[in-house]
Subunit: 248 residues, 2 copies
């Protein structure tokens, strides 16, 4: 709905003051895209899920999964919808990143894209959907060049992910429900791109007191076997409420 004003004296500078007059009709509209950087973690590597374009423009090139904002949805809704299409899941951990707006970023039409990043348990994706979209997991270091400004988006997402480790226990979103300390450490090493000391890491994690140690062991990686842990979301939430910050 567009409202037109009556009986208003327009000073000269008013055409530059859209918030002062709701003559929205004169304003340019744009396509608003939402592109998702989907992170997964596989054994020792941080990966991203990319889709292959099989049409022009940029046919045969790899790209982030994306879509356009619809009139009746929020950006979060849109990102959720896009993630659901590719993975089959709802309630994926997801965060808005940044708006990319170079005028010619998409050669087909003026488009502004808001990038989101998402964290998923790589074991849980829907293989069928992924095939439908010609999607593939790439480790960060081996990912191909992407279309448009998608590489820039990925770099932005990695930086954000790295920073987020100091605020939120995002790592747990990327692991299966039950995991070993070694897996958790490898994940943090992958995200932070640095090696961590095993004892210091375990001490710090235990100090946070947000893990449940199970009696169950994972026997696949050694003869001794390693205990499995679970993330205790309840304990974590209580701690966050009391104003605590998660820091590795």
């Amino acid at each position: 709905m567009i409202i037109f004003k009556k009986n208003v004296i327009l000073p000269v500078f008013c055409e530059n003051l859209p918030h002062m007059l709701n003559n929205y009709s004169k304003e340019d509209k744009v396509l608003l895209a939402v592109d998702c950087i989907i992170f997964g973690f596989d054994k020792e590597e941080l990966k991203i899920l990319l889709i292959k374009r099989d049409f022009e423009p940029e046919k045969g090139k790899w790209s982030l999964m994306g879509g356009f904002l619809k009139r009746n949805e929020t950006l979060d809704d849109s990102a959720n919808r896009i993630l659901h299409h590719l993975t089959g899941f709802h309630n994926i951990y997801m965060e808005q990143l940044y708006g990319f707006s170079k005028v010619d970023r998409d050669p087909a039409e003026r488009t502004v894209s808001v990038a989101y990043y998402a964290l998923i348990n790589i074991e849980e994706h829907n293989q069928e959907l992924i095939e439908q979209y010609s999607a593939r997991w790439f480790s960060i270091s081996e990912a191909p060049k992407l279309i448009f400004d998608h590489d820039q988006m990925v770099n932005h997402a990695i930086r954000r992910l790295r920073y987020r480790t100091s605020n939120k226990p995002i790592g747990f979103e990327l692991l299966p429900e039950k995991f070993t300390m070694r897996q958790l450490q490898k994940l943090y090493e992958a995200i932070l791109d640095e090696e961590l000391d095993k004892r210091n890491f375990i001490n710090k994690i235990n100090g946070l007191d947000i893990l449940i140690k199970l009696t169950e062991k994972d026997m696949s990686s050694s003869r001794k076997g390693s205990f499995l842990y679970q993330f205790d979301k309840e304990k974590y939430d209580k701690k966050v409420e009391d104003g605590f910050t998660f820091k590795i």
Copy 2:
């Protein structure tokens, strides 16, 4: 420019795959607003610059300064343009914050707004322009309720500003060229909303080695007078290059 595809067999799921077919013409377009949280620092308080709407809807209410993205500009361009209108200055320190997209956030029309925050030296604004826009500086604690989701934007900006102190010497953007240690400390106290120990603060700042101590003194606040300092951007830039982080 919109490109229509020919001779393409459309699988059933293709309408949900805009990146797979550039049939952009079917997609909804939206108005993209840019709203600016303009911070200033006055003596002991962090302030924001607000404008008063003198028209419907939301006549008489206070709001952030904003505008709409034009077809041929980036979001940064747009924010710069808006800031220039209100202050008369170019090259204002500015950062993109977040995209706000509640479907009915603007009752007049579907609008997505990308918020920016900016830091300006409060002594340097253009009084004439500010009067033209019925603008006023408010201390954060005394700011009126704002229209739409602008309060949410301001809160977001304060959080970001607080975080940025640990990365960037943003404080200096808010001060006059020459300033006293006390002013700098008061500013950080205002941003972080906590009292800091004078000696520890000075030790830390001096440890960063990015200030030039002038021989000149400010005599307005005491009989002894206090030395004035200048931010040494060159030294700072060199340090950033060597991978250093600024932390108070």
